[in-house]
């Protein structure tokens, strides 16, 4: 497949995923919320649904690489960076009630002004964050 078709194909799959969850279960496919509730909701009847969704993500990613033959991406082994980033992402999505999927894909999809503002906000700070980290650490050093 031509290279730029993969991102479009992937994006459409993500959009369809959110559509399936909303159409059949009436739920918003917000991954940060799903992860949090899968772990903390001890009594919720929805808890198992969250786990099925998460298992689906793993299967989907695994099957994609298996069937497409696309190479697995390399990971960045900078643990300090991964841990600091993980903490910030965790605090941020919990405070802001959503991440790229919940606010970006689903929120904008249902024309939520709150989600649009959140998305613009995290896109801008992510761009600034990359610009700063690249000016501190030369590209390729990470």
């Amino acid at each position: 497949m031509i290279d730029f078709l993969w991102p479009i194909f992937g994006g459409v799959l993500i959009g369809l995923s959110a559509t399936v969850l909303l159409l059949f279960n009436g739920k918003i496919a917000g991954i940060s919320g799903i992860i949090y509730h899968a772990i903390t909701d001890k009594t919720s009847v929805n808890r198992k649904q969250h786990w099925f969704f998460l298992i689906g993500i793993l299967l989907g990613a695994y099957l994609f690489h298996l069937l497409s033959g696309k190479a697995l991406p390399e990971t960045n082994d900078n643990y300090l960076l991964a841990i600091i980033a993980g903490l910030l992402v965790g605090v941020g999505v919990k405070l802001g009630n959503g991440c790229t999927s919940g606010h970006g894909v689903c929120g904008i999809g249902r024309l939520s002004m709150r989600s649009l503002v959140a998305t613009i906000c995290f896109m801008l700070t992510a761009i600034i964050s990359v610009a700063i980290i690249n000016s501190i650490i030369p590209t390729g050093a990470l």
Binding site: Y36, F53, I57, K70, P73, A85, A126
Partner: protein, 136 residues
């Protein structure tokens, strides 16, 4: 039925993340690096995902209820407050630092790299810390 649909939705999501390049941290930071060596590919991911939901959600939300549930569970909050903005800012910084947002970090578990586990544990810890911050 709800569990099967959750699994199918998750499958599509995981495949979409892997296909799009969102699970590749170098690709993500390359996309965010608009002042440097910008890689616009992931703009196509965001655009095609949002266009898909914009079209499909219109039709789905015209229904009185979902197929396998008694009602739609949609977020009720509409207020744009400091909590939302601060959360989005912190999330953006973290996303840019390493290149993972929560979905791709989960999908990347299948690559079996311990650093992904470190990111996820830190992320969960961050969520618990934030859940202790009083809402006001």
């Amino acid at each position: 039925m709800n569990r099967i649909m959750s699994l199918i939705s998750g499958l599509l999501f995981g495949a979409g993340l892997a296909a799009s390049g969102m699970t590749n941290t170098a690709k993500v930071t390359g996309f965010l690096d608009i002042f440097g060596n910008w890689d616009p590919d992931l703009l196509l991911v965001m655009a095609s995902a949002v266009i898909t939901t914009l079209i499909c959600f219109r039709f789905v939300l015209k229904r009185s209820k979902p197929v396998f549930a008694s009602s739609f569970s949609l977020p009720l909050k509409t207020v744009i407050d400091l909590r939302l903005l601060l959360g989005a800012v912190l999330f953006g910084i973290g996303w840019g630092l390493y290149g993972y947002c929560p979905g791709p970090a989960v999908a990347a578990i299948v690559y079996l790299q311990p650093v992904t586990g470190a990111f996820l544990i830190a992320m969960l810890l961050g969520m618990f810390i934030a859940s202790k911050i009083p809402k006001s």
